[in-house]
Symmetry: C2
Subunit: 355 residues, 2 copies
């Protein structure tokens, strides 16, 4: 049983719109009329039908799919939990903005606008091409103290909502993240929310060796004990204050804000899935709006996906983050819509049906 | 041990070019320099590196990817092995050409030219938008007699080669198929080539119920016994004459012809994979050129993929054919190339590497 601690802005807890059963049924009926054996397009059929219900339209769309990257730094990085130094967060932020990062390349390929939000890095001044929207520079080291105050956490949720409000009438949204140390933060949050051993959730991140991964799991275990977490019965708000990350909280807020506006969200890998888990625990009505893009190579992802009863579209051993897995799945979603909307029916093609 | 029966045109047996180890190594080195943790793009990295070796270029390309559909009819359809009547083959051919089929929609989305080849349907006269290139109209019923003469089989291989020769300097090729009854033909070929029980290879095709599927497996079992096949030691040429299909043979020829021209081929589902299996048995040097796109819901596909030691990119419960699964995987291949070619290096982005 989760306890409750409604310390976040009131909108976070508001119900998301229900799906349109009428449009869902109409889309299902259309699928049965298209010139192919029923069910032969497998998961693309369920995708298109699901989107029809969410978008309240028999003809779903996935053309306008902005990508928003939230970046944050993590005090826990001081405990040597990452293979890369902390300054890489800010350097990669610049790389996103100047077009050299993986997600920059994918955004160009997909024709998706890319917005980069500094939701809590250590950067001391605004960076070109980056929206600065943070309550503080980096979280506190959660092995020693609470990572965030309730006010800082609330600010991060509002940062996510503001980013969604800036996107101009998207069909879908993709959120991604950057932050050295954030697989440690994400594993700590997931361990606390699920009551699962950190050893099962801590992965090799950007490339820790087995000894480094063991150390990371031990750091998390000690921190959860320090904060009295780990039994899986603490409210998401309290977990996020104790061991949270600003970019993770911002994504969690953005997920809820998108669903409340009836915008489906394509969920990336481990870290975004942890943000989604927090979002679903805070506001279960957002769950139908989540499309899970891929199963990451990061070991904890499987447990988080299981907890969310999610079956991702891709399984390609990705473990980059930045929203890259979600971006890679977007063409499948677009083609699911194109097939649904563009194929001829048996009647239009004058083709005999089944014997 | 396969016997040998070199009854096909001599070119079929010619070696395909070897890969460029130099370009492969250069591509591997480049991957290690890009602004991401090494290996974090998982299978997309191996894809790009593999293509570099095949295309003899450190910067692989997947832009020009024509789709060629080969259609054929199957005498075995008279044995009631399909959920759809035989005239659907020709009707779907018209649907491909007029733009209403799944693969027509996908070709438009991908900007890929779509060529439709009548490699052996029952159509009595040429159809608009269809290349007619067939030795006969449909195969003979293989439950009663040999499906094809050696000359007809050789014609089908040449048909595949001609289609590849018509494609203008493609980076990759996608082959697809249409033919009522062709999962039965494909299962019979695979059972004979692999020495596996037809019961494990016959699937529900376009939508047979369990009783229909059992009947299909029994029809194949009896036919293999009739032709003295089934021990897995008969040459591919003899198997294809006994229980083959014209579109399957044409695709097998096209796969070899593409590989000989150093053009990688994106392999679709069960039926194209069986054509690929025959191609690899006839000419093992074509194997490196095959990129497997997806794992089909058709039950026999897994066995054929295992025999080819293939790990497909997608697993989406597809079972349509038409090259649709290969088309759906093309954006992943394109994005693998775009990432490989377009990302900044650590040096370019002035980012510190690992600790």
């Amino acid at each position: 049983m989760q306890d409750t601690a409604r310390m976040l802005p009131e909108w976070v807890y508001h119900d998301c719109p229900v799906i349109s059963l009428l449009d869902r049924e109409a889309a299902l009926a259309r699928q049965a009329e298209l010139t192919k054996p029923t069910g032969s397009l497998g998961r693309l059929e369920t995708l298109a039908v699901g989107l029809a219900g969410l978008q309240h339209s028999e003809r779903p769309k996935a053309e306008r799919a902005p990508i928003i990257i939230f970046a944050g730094d993590h005090g826990i990085a001081a405990q040597g939990v990452s293979a890369y130094p902390q300054e890489v967060t800010i350097a990669m932020l610049a790389n996103f903005a100047s077009g050299g990062a993986a997600i920059s390349v994918l955004a160009r390929e997909l024709g998706s606008p890319l917005e980069v939000v500094d939701a809590g890095t250590l950067a001391e001044s605004p960076m070109p091409g980056v929206v600065t929207d943070k309550p503080r520079a980096g979280t506190r080291d959660f092995s020693k103290e609470e990572a965030l105050t309730p006010a800082e956490l609330a600010f991060a949720y509002a940062c996510g909502e503001r980013a969604v409000a800036r996107a101009s009438s998207p069909d879908l949204l993709i959120f991604g993240e950057m932050g050295i140390g954030n697989t440690t933060t994400a594993a700590a949050i997931a361990a606390a929310l699920l009551g699962t051993s950190p050893d099962r959730l801590a992965g090799s991140g950007t490339g820790l060796d087995p000894a480094g991964r063991d150390r990371k799991a031990r750091v998390i275990l000690a921190a959860l004990a320090h904060h009295g977490l780990g039994a899986g019965n603490t409210a998401a708000e309290r977990v996020l204050c104790a061991v949270g990350g600003l970019e993770i909280a911002a994504m969690s807020g953005a997920i809820i804000a998108a669903a409340q506006r009836r915008i489906p969200v394509v969920i990336d890998g481990f870290i975004v899935s942890v943000a989604a888990l927090a979002a679903v625990l805070l506001n279960p009505s957002c769950r139908p709006y989540l499309i899970f893009s891929h199963r990451s190579a990061e070991q904890g992802h499987r447990l988080v996906l299981d907890a969310l009863e999610a079956q991702p579209l891709l399984d390609l051993d990705l473990r980059l983050g930045e929203g890259s897995g979600a971006a890679l799945a977007l063409p499948l979603i677009r083609m699911a819509c194109a097939l649904h909307n563009g194929m001829a029916t048996f009647a239009e093609a004058a083709i005999t049906g089944r014997d």
